[in-house]
Amino acid sequence: MSKTVAQTRALVEKSLRRRRLAELRFQAYGIAAVSIGVLFVILLFGSIIAKGAPAFRQAYVTLDVFIDPAVLYPDGIVNPELLATADYVALVRGSLKQRFMDVEGRTATRQLVELVSGSAVQELQALVQANPKRIGTHQKLTFLADDKVDQYLKGNITRSTPEADRSLSDQQLDWVDALRAAKAVELRFNKAFFTHGDSREPEQAGVWGAVVGSLYTLGVTLLLSFPVAVATAIYLEEFARRNRWTDLIEVNINNLAAVPSIVYGLLGLAMFLNFFGMPRSAPLVGGLVLALLTLPTIIIASRAALKAVPPSIREAAMGMGASPIQTVLHHVLPLAMPGMLTGTIIGMARALGETAPLLMIGMVAFIVDVPGSLSSPATVLPVQVFLWADSPERAFVERTSGAILVLLAFLVLMNATAVILRNRFERRW
């Protein structure tokens, strides 16, 4: 039975209320989902920043050091060769004792000297050897304080804990308080974090070695994976004939993109290290392994980008008498470039954070020196975070989060560069 217009209208009115409610519910779900996501992002970043921000400040001790020639040349003979092995600790000891004259006995003196970082010795040595004219003068020098002093100043070591459970004794805490009152110890910007490599001493540990290692490794990865992946995608998409072999290749590439990354590490271990005998722990090998990892991602994204270029462009180019290679290089590739770069960003971001495959090829070693070349041993930022997270010292807790922040900054920088590049290639139809 067909309805009258009025009846139909009445029915539609009735259903409207139900539909509006459904619409509102759907909106509420969406907002709730987004809010939960945003909340977790805020929590994550908030906790990382809260934990990591203290790592960017470090305690430094300023001391009046008398560069005593009697200590450097014990026999009185001025011999520059002795400068390399002189007892610089004595100079530090002397300076501290000048401030705290009542410190007696070996144990107490040792505890006093412990307040200054072991790096002070190397710094003094470098200073004196560079400028022997300073021997015999008083110098006001700033050294890294020991990491326990640093933690005390940041409030992680407090007097409320019983002395037996603390790393600093009451006496040491008094000394630090005295130094702080005299403005001889203070928290400053932690330059050492950004210029030093790894170290057993937390106050001397920095991310620079890992940053350089990451840069070299990712550089190798990009240089190897981008051209090969783009060329593969172009060949498979534009030139290869559609038959069973190309189908097989396509299925395999898609599968490789989902293979767990540690398998690539095993491949790298077996092939690059054992068979080819490449240097262990080197950015070159790390880059090779990561390139293999990233290839499938970039290939898949590039093929999709190439498929998206309308065939009318290719026809126009070929109709003009462009050869197939010219058609691809002059017309198709520039149009597909934004999609290819997006795939590369995704691939590189994944490679930056990969730890497991690099552990397999030995990049888990404790590397102190900043890598000088592609074949010197190195470590990467995620591995550095992993190593520091395992260390017992209190000061490494904040440094782990600090390293994570550096890693995230690295990632943001990489993405920003790629997005800028992609926008420059973007064309309007």
Partner: protein, 276 residues
């Protein structure tokens, strides 16, 4: 104009069932017994026809009759389609187009094509027209290239409208202007033949009229083959008309005669609108 060797004109096969005269006195292109297969499906059956220079040939017929397929045989654009196979003989000035040694790139510089939907490159107007001369090395320096671009745009009737904005993207023009740009870039490489696959079907009547005038002007320098759905357009623009039906070339002849006095029944049915 290059010499056309009269002795190499192949004869029309005896089994050719086309009504009307397929040959012309001094043909530029000769097609003899051309078949096109897409896989197992036969799209074109034994087509034989001559193309004359300085003349417009219109190919008309209902959808799916094979006229676009035949058009794409001339510049070997069917090579780009997987599974397409062309048999028979096609000769441009006595040279076999489908010979193994024939360089496709060179062929397409001699036979240009304008497509149904205007497809300028996403580059500037200047670069669109300059692309062909650049890759074929037709200009020795920038000044010559500028000249070629200007001449081509003038001949396509686009110069006055774009001379102040040659750096603007080709896609920023209107539909009719884009199609004229495509024509300009086709004539920039100085072809001998221009193929047009329904060039005006995506354009409004005014733009269509301008392009039809342009085709009339270009006729003086090139041989033009145009595929069209519009019989009125074929009547306005061409001197010879060929009617296709389900892959067969049914009738060829002078345009005036075809439209006033068609000899084959199928042709008559199509023209009078009984189907198509």
């Amino acid at each position: 104009m290059t010499e056309i060797a009269k002795t190499t004109v192949p004869p029309v096969p005896p089994e050719c069932k086309t009504t009307g005269v397929v040959t012309v006195p001094e043909p530029l292109i000769t097609a003899r017994g051309v078949n096109v297969f897409y896989g197992d499906k036969r799209a074109l059956n034994d087509v034989s026809i001559d193309i004359a220079n300085n003349q417009v040939l219109a190919m008309i017929g209902p959808s799916g009759c094979g006229k676009s397929t035949f058009l794409r045989c001339f510049n070997r654009m069917n090579d780009t389609i997987d599974g397409a196979r062309v048999t028979g003989s096609l000769q441009l000035e006595g040279q076999d187009i489908y010979e193994k040694r024939q360089d496709v790139v060179q062929l397409r510089a001699r036979i240009g094509m304008v497509f149904q939907k205007p497809n300028p490159f996403p580059k500037s107007i200047y670069d669109n027209v300059a692309y062909g001369p650049r890759i074929h090395g037709l200009a020795a320096d920038r000044i010559e290239l500028d000249e070629i671009v200007q001449t081509s745009l003038k001949r396509a009737g686009l110069w006055e409208e774009v001379k102040d904005r040659l750096a603007a993207p080709g896609t920023s023009l209107s539909g009719g202007q884009q199609q004229r740009l495509c024509i300009a870039r086709t004539i920039a490489v100085n072809p001998e033949v221009i193929l047009m696959d329904e060039p005006c079907s995506a354009l409004d009547p005014i733009a269509t009229a301008r392009i039809e005038d342009l085709i009339d002007e270009l006729r003086a320098s090139y041989a033009i083959i145009i595929v069209t759905h519009s019989m009125q357009q074929a009547a306005r623009v061409s001197q010879r008309t060929a009617y296709f039906h389900l892959g067969d070339l049914i009738e060829v002849g002078e345009t005036d005669r075809i439209f006033t006095n068609p000899r084959h029944k199928l042709t008559e049915d199509y023209i009078t609108g009984r189907f198509g």
